[in-house]
Point group: C2
Chain length 330, copies 2
DNA sequence: CTGAAAGCGCTAACAC
DNA sequence: GTGTTAGCGCTTTCAG
């Protein structure tokens, strides 16, 4: 194992010079920097991150805390973060939130990261305080951490207007109900209430409690579609609070021979790649995933690099694009 | 920051005792262990993994090196590994192979892991030697590293037999062609040749060069289905070398109004969850993903924990299950 | 601009 | 069984 000491010796400089030169501190002569780096290269020197972390307190690693990396939404989100972190020379540690509470081990988990980016983090809040943290998709009233959200309210309104413009008047809203009680900190309710309000503005009265409920997104949407079909479809337009649900419904309708968009138009929310691989292809409110990733990482790095300026937590929303595809083309 | 020193002081023991007790070494009195751990808990002690790694040389972190975490196959594989690693108290660092070559940074990346599990790793082989490594889905003649494979040959034969038993006689095989030249180290060719051979055994002659080729899996399958439909479908059974392709084809056929399985039966290979969310649902050769994960991690840990016994690299295959769904139900 | 020295928090030998 | 000691490889004052 070749260490910095070896590099320093071979280059005829001290360890501290070698260290500084490798990192390119500008108090060193360009000449020295070049020399040291060349030797390091020749020797195949690799910096030992444990030692570096121990001394500097930095790990160059961010934990992506998520409820899963499977499913249309999360795998896309995780991919965007993987790319964004790489761009900045950071590593991504994946931690599944389902495992966070189950043992004492947890504490050590987070010692090796400089910060945490968390989705659906309300139930794991106890570990969050330990590091700089950015939340994704959290709408709680108390804004305890920097947060980056999808444009849930504005996007929902746009979805409703789109259906309306397509001539839909018997509009339904479909959401995924979690086992827990309703919570306004979740995107679901923000989207639902914004959509209901937009409906009212268009002169259609809608009580949010009439929201069509699914249990599970993909399979839940599918089963709901079956049920709606079997009961005699009463809607001519459906806004699904997530693409996962919408994709499931499209499948369910296909299985029951219901024509989309002829009999019922369907629009989702998220903008995942699978939207182009459904039959028919799915119209959606596409969240700017890349924007979420870059904003979240920027906010996090600012906290990490300047812990001294104690700004109060900020909450920002990224933009959306309405993508019209076959499922609402009429 | 509360350190082991603080715990030791408060517990009235030495640091080494505290260290050993925390780790539960059996040379300590149960009483001592309990006491130390209780104090640690009270003080909110969290072990500093950098210091631990620096000293012990172990990181309790495994790098999952993959070409992506999106797509039906990889997200499922990654999920299985995340679960398996967690079971063993290990962390998962995700590294995208597309980024491996692009800078010097790479070297340090792998300093913080104890080992590497790599999919599609033939093009990044230069970094592999540095750590204990397990390859996934590598069929190269030279077996340089421990390898865990899907049951590509046996599974392919089973797929063909299944189509045959369903009465298919005009059977096509569909594979995803990589931009690079054909390479027998990839699962693709192993599957193709095994399938061709099985066809011959059933009295149907098949030249592997007649394999139907797609570029990209999901979209590629879809476009191929369009083309086959437009040319007047000549097949009554199709074996797709991966579920991604098969799912794309199912979609393409639906878009062209071709009935599956009535006009053509389709079977895939992998066994991803999306198979149950296609229309029609997809029959497949399901690889034992959990088995792959647990086998791969076991092999890796043995190398990490006993670097001294220099066993020659082993290659193992996991089992498969033929899952019959709607796409071949006739 | 560079070097010497201290020590981050922990574990592994070796005493006792 | 438990304590003492010596570092792991690096960064960071602080001199010069």
């Amino acid at each position: 194992m070749v260490t910095l000491k070896d590099v320093a010796a071979k280059a005829g400089v001290s360890m501290s010079t070698a260290s500084g030169a490798m990192r390119g501190l500008d108090s060193f002569k360009p000449q020295t920097i070049r020399k040291v780096r060349k030797i390091a290269e020749e020797l195949g020197y690799k910096t030992n991150v444990s030692a570096k972390s121990l001394r500097s307190g930095r790990n160059d690693t961010i934990t992506f805390l998520t409820s899963g990396i499977q499913g249309v939404y999360f795998s896309q989100l995780a991919t965007c973060f993987a790319n964004e972190l790489h761009k900045r020379g950071l590593h991504m540690l994946i931690e599944l939130s389902q495992y966070i509470d189950d043992d004492a081990n947890t504490g050590t988990t987070f010692m090796m990261t400089d910060g945490i980016i968390a989705t659906n983090a309300r139930n794991v809040s106890k570990i969050l305080g330990s590091h700089p943290t950015v939340l994704l998709e959290d709408y709680s009233e108390d804004c305890l951490y920097d947060t980056v959200n999808a444009p849930s309210a504005a996007g929902s309104r746009a979805a409703i207007r789109h259906l309306y413009e397509k001539g839909c008047r018997r509009i339904g809203i479909v959401g995924n109900v979690l086992p827990e009680t309703v919570d306004f900190g979740f995107p679901r309710d923000v989207r639902l209430y914004a959509a209901a309000d937009e409906l009212k503005r268009l002169g259609i009265d809608y009580d949010p409690s009439n929201c069509l409920k699914t249990i599970g997104s993909r399979q839940g949407g599918r089963e709901l579609a079956h049920r709606l079909a079997d009961e005699g479809l009463q809607y001519d337009g459906l806004y699904c609070l997530s693409d996962g649900i919408a994709l499931g419904m499209l499948l369910g309708f296909a299985e029951r021979g219901i024509k989309v968009p002829e009999q019922v138009a369907v629009i989702g929310f998220d903008g995942v790649v699978e939207d182009e691989f459904s039959f028919p292809t799915l119209s959606t409110i596409a969240t700017d995933f890349e924007g979420m990733a870059s904003t979240a990482v920027s906010m996090l790095m600012r906290r990490i690099e300047h812990p001294e300026d104690e700004l109060s937590p900020q909450r920002v929303s990224v933009g959306y694009r309405l993508i019209e595809r076959a499922s609402t083309a009429r």
